[in-house]
């Protein structure tokens, strides 16, 4: 290393810092671990519990409509969860011991996956949810007049559609503010890593 760099290195090393005590830190980190574990369990059990609740709520053994409804809603949920799993922070963390180049490449893909979930898979789920809920209501509304049944089905569909539309729109706006600039930044770092 030449003299100039050595001088800079000496200055760099002379930066004086006092960092927190390890014992206190470890206690705080263990607290974070416990919270993360609870969150993981909640995520793990939400979809199966919802499916079980639907199986209990709807007469799946007597009605084909109910059975198809549960299958549709359940499949929709698992489809979104499967896609979300590909981009979840837990998976990202496992890649942290990669080189910067590999990490950035995997990050860009995962961040794009998040946008894809909101812009595409959430709409697939919306379609499956609307179809499933409407099928589930067919038997429940069997004794009502055609007019009432149509009104209930249309109202339900429109309500879900509006709810999902605004949720997806809000999420995409958030991604536009946070993820898109981050992808741009990572793309720029990837360009810096070109071996030229």
């Amino acid at each position: 290393m030449d003299r100039k760099l050595k001088e800079m290195q000496a200055m760099w090393q002379a930066q004086n810092v006092e960092v927190p005590d390890a014992t206190i830190l470890v206690k705080q980190l263990q607290k974070i671990d416990r919270r993360a574990k609870v969150e993981r369990y909640i995520m793990l059990f939400t979809a199966p519990l919802t499916t079980l609740f639907l199986l209990w709520l709807l007469p799946v053994l007597e009605s084909m409509y109910s059975l198809v409804a549960v299958v549709l809603i359940g499949s929709g949920m698992y489809m979104v969860l499967q896609q979300a799993d590909k981009a979840k922070p837990g998976n990202l963390a496992k890649k942290l011991d990669f080189s910067n180049r590999s990490f950035i490449e995997s990050q860009i893909g995962k961040l794009r996956q998040l946008i894809l979930i909101a812009s595409k898979y959430m709409w697939f789920y919306t379609g499956m949810l609307i179809a499933g809920i409407n099928l589930g209501y067919i038997d429940a509304l069997a004794d009502y007049s055609m007019e009432t049944r149509v009104t209930v089905h249309v109202s339900l569909s429109v309500t879900i559609l509006f709810f999902m539309y605004f949720s997806i729109k809000k999420r995409l706006q958030k991604y536009g503010r946070e993820i898109v600039p981050l992808i741009d930044r990572l793309e720029s770092v990837r360009a810096q890593l070109a071996n030229v």
Partner: protein, 166 residues
């Protein structure tokens, strides 16, 4: 086999100052460096069990730190880990009023860190690792560049920093 807590204590004892300097070099100011240091510690804690001992603990920690830095924007735009906040506020030793030389030295150090923070992200990482006495080979394995390329870049970074520090 060492427990996660023991491994963390070992790592923290060895690398805390180096990692904090790396965070400060990446961000250029103590407020952001504190936030980044906190994120890095959380990531290291969460991933300690995946440390495979194929590399030195410090090299592994640098990888985690530099990759975390890459995703670090600032608190208001953080994407992940909205978790319990770690109290890692680092107390800078205040510059004692007194000898002019000490104050001047402090200013020079601060200027150096700020100059480093204006470099491109990868250049910041390269020069910080070099100043932490990493070999070209180590820097190459952390960044994913070739050792030759690391050498060429260091020369360019040195020139750029020299101009900024005039």
């Amino acid at each position: 086999m060492a427990s996660k807590k023991e491994l963390f204590n070992l790592f923290y004892g060895e690398s805390k100052d180096k990692l904090y300097r790396l965070c400060l070099g990446f961000t250029g100011n103590t407020a952001d460096a504190d936030d980044l240091f906190q994120e890095v510690l959380i990531k290291i804690w969460q991933n300690l069990e995946s440390f495979r001992k194929e590399s030195k603990l410090s090299t592994w920690a640098y990888r985690v730190a530099t990759n975390t830095a890459m995703l670090f924007l600032k608190r208001r735009t953080q994407l992940y880990d909205r978790q319990t906040t770690l109290d890692t506020t680092v107390q800078q030793t205040p510059v004692a009023p007194g000898p002019e030389a000490a104050v001047q030295k402090e200013e020079q150090i601060s200027k150096l860190y700020q100059a480093i923070a204006t470099l491109k992200e990868i250049d910041r990482i390269i020069i910080s690792l070099l100043f932490e006495k990493c070999s070209y080979q180590e820097i190459a394995s952390i960044t994913g560049l070739s050792p030759t390329n690391v050498g060429a870049r260091i020369n360019r970074i040195k020139n750029s920093l020299s101009k900024k520090l005039v």
